[in-house]
Symmetry: C2
DNA sequence: CTTGTTTGCTTAAACGTTTTACCTAATTAT
DNA sequence: ATAATTAGGTAAAACGTTTAAGCAAACAAG
């Protein structure tokens, strides 16, 4: 580890004080009326010595790290990976760096990640909150840390958020299948108290209800920490009891994918044997023998806006912004092949 | 922003010096022989006041941030997302946090990301290096920063790395197709000087050569910043000239996926019309009408070992470790449906 | 010729830790 | 009894910045 060059090094080389070097390198030479001659010398020395500011020292002094703490369920999930990327780019534009952690939808893990991010003095937080983390979030809010929740939120919490209109998402999806003539449509959802799932279930239920179709027995709720085998099992049991199901709506990307694996394993042809609507799309959806229909989220917008809201709060606004984005139903028919 | 509680706050509440509080909270009460009574009082106060150490201040003082800088091509690419996740978990076990940046395989962007990570005083770096970044890496090495390259490396650089045996990967893949009776096998690769691609091309060429098959005209090199349309175009041109091609090997996951999109668009049935071997697998590969064969990388091992090597270097070893992992060819036959 | 202003720079404190050096009182050894 | 040791603690410097405050010299205004 070679010693990094500091302001002091430049100062002593040029023969001026540390303060002066700081002023020059921060472009405050005008206000601080530094002589042109000194400015030039400092600039040159900094250049030659390859000076790079120590952000840690600066953070300590300024009480701000220019860092955003990002908590997602799992960075390796393409949905969150993509979101992270958008946030990274957007944050970078404002001079912020992202430090992230995956919560695995687990309360304890979430707490650990959040503690780490706080120790590192993140200036603000963008969080995809897991079940049971209300207190963790409200803890942040109590400390007046800027927080933006994404994808889900807690209705009882007075906190900025940006989420999909989840109700509309499944309402539209289900309605579309009904319009196509389906009558026994199942919804596959996670068993969780998180609002986004509740809303997706509600949208489905409502769509079925307004068409006078029963749905209570057609709701499949699987556990969060599911393996593919367990999902298969749940679906098997369900389909044995309900042989007349003619359509399925899946309520997030993991479940959709799990559903497709299931269909493949048990040779159920989509959409010939069963109509199918997934959530979030992806390569597997595009490349399926017959391209699959799905609910599309405006992910770019979600990420961009999340950062924008956070930046507002970081720059002093106390405003709480809660945004609901509109999903798009991507309908695809049989391919030309 | 409420004020965070510091050692000073605890000290003044308990009525002792800051130093003492630091000792107690760092478990040095024995060596520093702090009285049991004071230890208890400090502990309790810290608990009650909800003290969390300021990692920034600690970093400044200690000259180490317990931070790993991770540079990948694109965090939203599942390959890198997965890698990031493994690294995150592994780093966490050792008390390290990850700060990351996406380079987009771009020299300039890579430089910016690297500069940011350096400003933030990352203790060590795990990097998927882009083309033309040799100098950036050697700059880090010159400053004696621990660096581990992943997925690719620079032969001329004396730096730790962990990569796939890329030669073997395409050699095996190509050989397998030859064994299946293919004679006109194309390789789709990126046009780049990066070693991993060169090796993948070499493996392919060698496999063809040892079977006495010509390959020079069957190598398709596409540009890095390709759009799907451009890839389609290149493939179209190529296939028009070479109608007798009976197999294709793709040399990374992006290209494989691009290939599949192409096949779909132009109604080329895999593997009926054309044998196909992809790189890296993924959902789309599993769910393809007939599951696709691909080269599988031991991603977990790659991530875990990368962190382990870095940790060794962070703990003072000067040893340079260069590891080459063995790929597995996943062969899948037509599905039972 | 004083007084005030501008110019150009320096000093020093502060951010929250860690850690070295030092201090005093009590105890033990001589 | 005095000297040496130990127990239990404090003071202060240091990490690299930023920034408020100050200060001397030069200059302008009265």
């Amino acid at each position: 580890m070679e010693k990094r060059v500091s302001l002091k090094d430049i100062a002593s080389r040029v023969g001026v004080s540390v303060a002066l070097v700081s002023y020059v390198l921060n472009g405050k030479e005008k206000e601080m009326r530094v002589s042109a001659e000194v400015v030039a010398k400092v600039r040159q020395a900094a250049e030659e010595m390859n000076y790079e500011p120590n952000q840690i020292a600066r953070s300590l002094r300024m009480g701000a790290t220019k860092t955003i703490g990002l908590v997602v369920a799992d960075i390796s999930n393409p949905f969150f990976g993509h979101l992270a990327r958008i946030i990274e780019d957007e944050a970078f534009k404002s001079g912020y760096t992202v430090i992230f952690g995956s919560s695995d939808e687990d309360e304890e893990k979430s707490a650990m990640v959040l503690r780490t991010l706080q120790n590192r003095q993140a200036d603000g937080y963008i969080i995809v909150p897991s079940e049971g983390t209300t207190r963790q979030i409200s803890g942040l809010l109590r400390k007046k840390r800027p927080v933006v929740l994404v994808d889900r939120y807690f209705p009882e919490l007075n906190c900025s958020h940006i989420v999909l209109n989840n109700y509309q998402a499944t309402f539209d999806a289900t309605s579309h299948l009904i319009g196509k003539g389906c009558k026994r449509i199942a919804l596959v959802a996670y068993r969780t108290s998180l609002i986004h799932m509740k809303e997706r279930i509600r949208g489905y239920a409502e769509a079925m209800s307004v068409s006078g179709l029963p749905w209570e027995d057609l709701l499949i709720e699987v556990e969060f920490g599911h393996t593919q085998a367990e999902t298969d099992n749940a679906l098997n049991k369900f389909l044995e009891k309900n042989r007349n199901v003619d359509g399925m709506v899946f309520s997030n990307n993991g479940l959709s994918l799990g559903g497709l694996y299931y269909m493949q394993k048990y040779c159920i042809r989509v959409p010939r044997d069963l109509a199918f609507i997934g959530f979030d799309g992806g390569e597997a959806f595009d490349l399926y023998p017959t391209p699959l229909s799905y609910v599309s989220q405006p992910l770019e917008e979600m990420g961009r806006e999340a950062v924008k809201i956070l930046m507002d709060q970081l720059h002093g606004t106390n405003r709480i912004t809660q945004i609901m984005l509109t999903p798009t139903l991507i309908i695809r028919e049989a391919s030309p092949c």
